[in-house]
């Protein structure tokens, strides 16, 4: 299981990185989404995983570490806010420039 999760995180990261390195805003945003999946799962996973150990007191005998979960919650929310902002920026940039390339040209850089 751990190996599968590690591979998944690796693949999510690689997918995210590859898409982030594309030249248009939309794939970059998708790439960032993948990166945020990757890191969310990473935070979660590095708290070690357990099945049937929901950290709700009284529900079981063992509880998985709740702290990484709380951290992931924060991370999910924050990355959602960031995604929302970058999405509107992609729209604004496209409407103003007439193209959706992410590289800045001579004037803008």
């Amino acid at each position: 299981m751990e190996a599968l999760i590690a591979i998944t995180i690796g693949a999510l990261t690689a997918t995210g990185v590859y898409l982030v390195l594309r030249q248009r805003s939309f794939p970059v945003i998708l790439g960032l989404s993948f990166l945020s999946y990757a890191v969310n799962v990473f935070i979660f996973a590095t708290g070690r995983v357990q099945t049937d150990a929901i950290p709700i007191i009284g529900e079981g005998r063992i509880y998985t570490d709740p702290l990484p979960q709380a951290l992931v919650l924060t991370a999910i929310v924050i990355s959602f806010g960031m995604t929302a902002v970058i999405v509107i920026m992609a729209i604004g940039g496209y409407l103003k420039a007439g193209h959706d390339r992410v590289d800045l040209d001579e004037d803008g850089r």
Binding site: T51, D52, I54, I56, E59
Partner: protein, 90 residues
């Protein structure tokens, strides 16, 4: 006695269904089909989640199933509306 077997069978069915969905996702001739596949996938996943919840005897992941149903519906409608009208909110 037979109940665990039945659980396993049901889970197995939905897993196979999920793999079929995966196959169809890529062989789908149109984007409409793809959305349909995703919708179906969501339904199958709901079944799996609820079966797993019953198996570990917890009601704590019921909300997940409920929200899966809700978000799956919203997403399907949104994808379709996007294809129909471009803007999903107008």
């Amino acid at each position: 006695m037979i109940l665990p077997l039945a659980f396993d069978f049901a889970i197995g069915c939905f897993l196979v269904a999920l793999l079929m969905n995966l196959w169809r996702l890529f062989s789908a001739p149109t984007i409409t089909d793809r959305i349909l596949v995703v919708d179906t996938m969501t339904i199958n996943v709901i079944a799996l989640v609820m079966l797993y919840g019953a198996l570990i005897e917890t009601s704590l992941i019921f909300e997940a199933a409920l929200l899966l149903a809700m978000t799956g519906f919203v997403a399907t409608v949104a994808y379709a509306k996007y294809l129909l009208r471009g803007s999903i909110i107008e």
